[in-house]
Amino acid sequence: MNDRNEWPLFEVFVRSKRGLNHVHVGSLHAPDLRMALINARDLYTRRNEGVSIWVVPTSAIGASTPDEKDPFFSPSADKVYRHPTFYDIPSDVPHI
């Protein structure tokens, strides 16, 4: 068995119908982008789950740590004035 040349990993994103975003559905191994697309079709859209597929080499994805305590996201935590509810408007002002 030759496992030295294992196929690289790709992340798969599927758009389930027009008008929606591509959503991450999982990953798979393939020798190249074209085969990754074909394998993704067979693996993740056996029941019309998609109208469009993206495959991206996993190694090409930059990612933050998902830990919410991560200081990475803290700059947005103390800016309540970015939300509409921060502003007091008299209740008799219409359409605002």
Binding site: M1, W7, P31, D32, M35, R47, T65, P66
Partner: protein, 315 residues
């Protein structure tokens, strides 16, 4: 530092939130999950064999197409799960190697033979039914990628159970011999199906920890009971007899009482001595080895394309 990470992990579990791949997690959690997810993936992959044997012999084009789709789904489920295991740092090639060399297990149920076409129906009804009992709560498992894979799998699995039951209903409307074949398959698969839920709670040492980590959400015995309660009325409707004289409704408990599976048989089958263990693993090994040239050729092709594309931009 480590204490803080542990506290954060415990709090996430306590809040019923998901653990995601890049989160810190205790080594035991990671190991337990890799073992469980890999075992689950291997079961889907080996699970293609008992029914796959009937694809060429299915009695009609309709049944053949259904069986094809089902076995294809099992392959797909195996892939979803391997992909979940890989988010924990496992490697695909290594998982395949461990299945083939026997260092990782798969479900005991797939080591039983399928001598009759009625077995295809009973596998759908019992084995996929039991799998659904097991898997629906796993959609809320604490590890995100595993839970999400289970959501996909459960959606697809319900067709598996229904096609099996429908197949059996059809056979029960057939000849005396067909009805006898269904009963015979029920007799052979009932006890092994109950064993699919694993040893009884008091003999399942890792269960408590898995439940504390919310990897598992219900105990083996709870799920087994749920399966029995669900299956008895279906058996009555089908007009077959479940081979357990101890099976009776218990008004007080609000559940069916049932007999004790032969746990020594489960032990034997798990440790490699079931009717088909050797055959199943040998076939998986052969498929893997026979496919080696395809994997190598595709890699070589990709490398060649890559090189010529680079040359193209350089000139």
């Amino acid at each position: 530092m480590n204490e803080q990470l542990q506290e954060h992990f415990d709090a996430t579990i306590a809040r019923d939130q998901r653990i995601e791949p890049r989160d810190w997690m205790p080594e035991g959690y990671r190991k337990t999950l890799i073992r469980q997810v890999a075992q689950h993936a291997h079961s889907e992959i080996i699970g293609m064999q008992p029914e796959g044997d009937w694809i060429t012999r299915a009695p009609s084009l309709r049944r053949k197409a259904i069986l094809f789709a089902k076995v294809q789904d099992e392959a797909g489920h195996g892939m979803y799960l391997y992909s979940a295991a890989e988010t924990l740092g496992a490697e695909r090639a290594d998982l395949t190697r461990r299945l083939i060399d026997g260092s990782q297990k798969y479900s005991s149920i797939f080591n039983y033979p399928t001598p009759s076409f009625a077995d295809v129906g009973v596998i759908g009804w019992f084995v996929d039914g039991a799998a659904i009992c097991n898997q629906v709560p796993l959609c809320r498992s604490s590890y995100g990628p595993y839970a999400r894979a289970m959501v996909r799998i459960c959606k697809e699995e319900s067709f598996h159970q229904r096609q099996g039951y429908e197949l059996l209903l059809t056979m029960m409307r057939g000849t005396e011999r067909q009805r006898a074949a269904v009963q015979d398959a029920v007799d052979r698969w009932w006890w092994p199906s109950l064993m699919m839920f694993g040893p009884p709670d008091d003999a399942s040492p890792n269960s408590a920890r898995s439940m504390a980590w919310k990897i598992k959400r219900h105990s083996n015995d709870e799920l087994r009971q749920r399966f029995v309660d669900m299956t008895v009325p279906q058996a009555e409707k089908l007009d077959v007899t479940l081979p357990d004289p101890g099976l009776t409704w218990n008004d007080e408990r609000g559940h069916y009482d049932f007999g004790t599976p032969d746990w020594s048989e489960l032990q034997r089958v798990i440790s490699g001595d079931g009717p088909c263990n050797t055959e199943r693993v040998a076939r998986r090994r052969k498929a893997h080895e026979d496919g080696a040239w395809v994997r190598e050729a595709a890699t070589a092709h990709a490398a060649k394309q890559h090189t010529s594309a680079r040359k193209g931009t350089a000139s």
